[in-house]
Homo-oligomer: 339 residues x 4
């Protein structure tokens, strides 16, 4: 195997994007390129202590900065842009989380509009210990602490939307975006349908870890040093983002109400697995119904996201995208050996 | 430890209930009693082959029979009825699943009313091999087969509802009922708030296994031989059913839209874990947000059910219900040794 | 026309029901009978001033008392029970409304569970002037007053549910119940599918007037003196309650999320009008789409209710239920002349 | 009163926009200007007969063309852009409606994803008779016809969105857009919060008439000749579009699920009327609950829209926006007299 090209991408403070779409690529890479990139946290790095209330130190809409977009040479509408996460490493020894007025699953919001005043805005600071593999929660109201396992991931990964739309980076949808699923970790390959020339991949919103549902609206937010392999499959662009790791195929859906996010993800998984296994639609529906998993990703963003997971052990010899995930795994391994 | 009382409960064909509430107890047991019970499948055992279409062989509302109700001596409104699943064993070497007209997540239903004709009604028959620990899916349209791991569970477990209501056994709610979560497996303790004298526990709807969401509307349905320990905690009745196994505390919520089921389950988990750890509400909200899991249970029944899971590893020395789960584990172990 | 039988039904304080289903009829009447009945308000008459906070003076589940049930001789499952409202007259010169903890459209509830404390519980007392046709709103925080037109109606009208269920009187559903639509006024005929022998009609929850959506959770609640004609059509029981007045056919749907209530009501209206006009389903879908109205009924109860209205002017000579509404109008007129 | 400036705006076939945002203004007008504009129908005029199936003759995303954007001189973020509809007149003697695959309230869609094939795609052609004030429905499957009252309106009216977003013209939201409410008729003033310099008003999607909910996904679509007065209020930009006619104040909300659209609209109306009447929030909540109307606008678009209406008769002497609606009415009258 030839070594992949390696391209660095380290945006300065003014180089971040806050939308998917509406922005020219900052770099164009060949399919198969390794990109070493850095990302800022969802607060732009401006929340550093208990006194840094996000609603005061962040300026809407400069929230959730993303790195990119990266154009992939040859990507055309209808193609499949693949991005394999080789490494996601916290770039700081601390992360932050917070409540935010009118944001989160257990609070009135601007769309689930109610007459309550907002919940208290509170910041938590986590110590991140990469070698030990933990991040430490410290309660604000008591002296309780707990070490939680690090599980670094990116909340926001996506491409330029269809139909000429430009969407805030906090919105998840058919283009990906702020899906906020913990499945977007190192070892995972994500597949996006290409809507515009070059596809225009952007990545941000690193989480040292995140519970499913991202209930309070934010995870353990931190800057990341991340390595991805970017690749291209001509044609076959999925209607909604798909993920794959060594054990599961995963379809996503982002919509409201949450059952529609569920329906989208399950509908896609039925079609995907049915196609791989040569099953008719009802047989695939049945098989997914008995073999699948269905964790929440986020239930706080402008759309909610559900993930539908199917164990690859049931696939027999069938391989998604002709085994691309395994090839990207090999590229990642070669890169790591060489580095 | 003294051995627990053991009570058999093997209903005949006419002894099943089809509701929660509205029915006198079939037996009253002391707290701590082991109950050895049998359950029929959700079709009443009448779907046995491809030609047994449920809409033809089942008669509404005689669907989803449950065994019980079992009264617990001393249980009063406001108490907590605990049921620990010792064993759940398929009682047949086959199970069935099916689509059903206007039922399931990816079809129009009587409430998500649309102009489409119903999907094809189709039956799948699974071979169940208990010693091997698998059930075999056979596609109907091709010769594809797949062995899926057995993971026996009960879809329907609950008590008599509050407010004098009588609810169909297919409805999940604050009383439990047809929550259809794969977490209701052997090794799990379920906690219900008592609404009427005796609590009136009923159990049914055994699944050889089930995917999260029960997408097509049915799991691998089969009759079960099940052993439970039934116990009582005075007071402390939870507003919504809770579950506990060796690794997780779990809250459930059953409602529509699905985000409300999510909200209920997360809200309860915030209160439950906050109470155990002495955290204020916002600190508990934050901790659950980073440490929790949120799998779908069912997205097909008359209410949808979500599960919120919290790792007991984060609890330190705190124990729910004063360690009742561990004591019921011990009771179960003693029963199994003696049997 | 022969005069209809007239039956009085004036329950004493202990004679009210709090459920649909689970209760024997208090009277059996022949089809075509006029029933002169009284109803208590949703608080059981116990909220009479600013200091009578409902959460303190009402005892769950003794909320929303209904008068009945009335059995209709000859009514069998599958039939259509018709009830025509001849008169609905406030029985007091005052009514009350209130917020109620965890109830209403713009507040967290037990199902839309959030971390906010409940909104302030506040009582408003309205003066009702029947001759003038107004009820007077008095603000609590200022001296603002406004006279609103009286438009008396019943929030809760329904029959015993199917499947042996017993449901709280505050729940709307396929059996009717607490639909809380202002369309349930004098001059309206309501049609219900019969689920049990006798049908078992109950009526309660009088409102001096109500906005669409019943946003805060309660209307101008008052006791009523109400006259209805009860009738029976053999067969043809609608799946969901239907209404008819001199100008509109109306279908209802009660479900969550609100779009499902909308879908149910529109789906039923498409089938109903298509049947009356001999249209195929798509033509009826088109006609309803252009000619129909779709007001909210309630967006606060345990299910939400939408109404789908179709102008009878578009029906040409077609008559629902063979002109039953007109015949009941005539019965009502004869009754009023004779009284 | 001085006569207002009058500006014509008649786009050619290539001059339409298909988004809100992402486009430079085609004209800049002074506050108070009358704009005489033309709009194409939602199909771009390409559906003219039964054989013109929209999915074949329309090219995504060139759907729902809008005329504009019109910049208003001096409009800055935070201001209120007012547009008063003076006249909306069908520009053709025919209109069309259709079903469209995966679009509409009673069909599976790409977000309410199901396994059903799409409903039949069918086109209906309506004769429009402006002098007679009717449009004629002709069934496709039978020879039934019905004359429905003309009630011309614009489904799509809005400004450039916030946060740098560019949204498809078929999406309704806080910026307005494709709200599809029949209330947007001649005589109505609409108020939008300004997000970008000039506001950037666009108008399209004329309907000869539309039922509430736009159930099948399309109304009686036709090209329009429309006259508006465009005006500006410094500051006070509403969070969601508001409407006013001679009888009602109206707030809108566009979201999913439909109860969130309801909540947004009612929440805004509570704040708006409370402010005008000097009521505290709970008193306003109470008053809106008893006096308000809540019709559906659309339950088919990418967001659903509800309207909350409040009778101006209850306002006493209070006037929204200092009586701007009445002044625009006067401007309109002067224009019509002079023309």
């Amino acid at each position: 195997m030839d070594l992949a090209d390696v391209v660095p991408l380290q945006p300065g403070p003014d180089d971040y994007a806050y939308t998917f779409g509406g922005r020219a690529p900052v770099v164009t890479v060949q399919p198969g390129t390794v990109v070493e990139l850095t990302t800022e946290d969802c607060f732009g790095g401006s929340v550093r202590g208990f006194g840094d209330l996000p609603s005061q130190v962040c300026v809407f809409p400069r929230l959730n900065p993303v790195t990119g977009p990266v154009a992939v040479a040859g990507a055309e509408p209808g193609d499949t842009l693949a991005v394999h996460f080789v490494e996601i490493t916290p770039a700081r020894d601390w992360g932050v989380s917070s409540t935010f007025p009118h944001f989160g699953a257990l609070t009135t919001t601007h769309t689930t509009a109610m007459l309550h005043p907002p919940l208290e805005e509170r910041v938590w600071v986590y110590e991140i210990d990469v070698p030990a593999g933990v991040c430490r929660f410290r309660a604000r109201g008591t002296d309780f602490t707990a070490d939680l396992p690090l599980d670094p991931m990116h909340g926001t990964v996506g491409v330029a939307p269809a139909a000429g739309e430009t969407l805030m980076s906090i919105t998840p949808g058919a283009h990906g975006g702020n899906m906020d699923t913990p499945e977007m970790r190192a070892g995972t390959t994500a597949y996006f349908g290409v809507n515009v020339e070059g596809g225009l991949l952007s990545i941000g919103d690193g989480h040292a870890r995140q519970g499913e549902g991202e209930v309070c609206g934010t995870a353990v937010e931190t800057a990341m040093r991340t390595v991805v392999v970017v690749d291209l499959v001509k044609g076959g662009g999925p209607a909604w983002p798909r993920l794959e790791d060594d054990r599961h195929l995963m379809s996503t859906g982002s919509a409201r109400p949450l059952e529609d996010a569920f329906r989208i993800s399950q509908h896609d998984l039925v079609g995907w697995t049915g196609g791989l296994l040569g099953l008719d639609e009802l047989d695939a529906y049945q098989l997914v119904s008995q073999a699948g998993l269905a964790p929440a990703a986020n239930v706080c963003d402008t759309n909610y996201t559900m993930v539908a997971k199917f164990p690859k052990s049931v696939l027999g010899g069938a391989r998604a995208y002709d085994g691309l995930h395994d090839r990207l795994r090999a590229t990642a391994a070669a890169y790591l050996r060489q580095r």
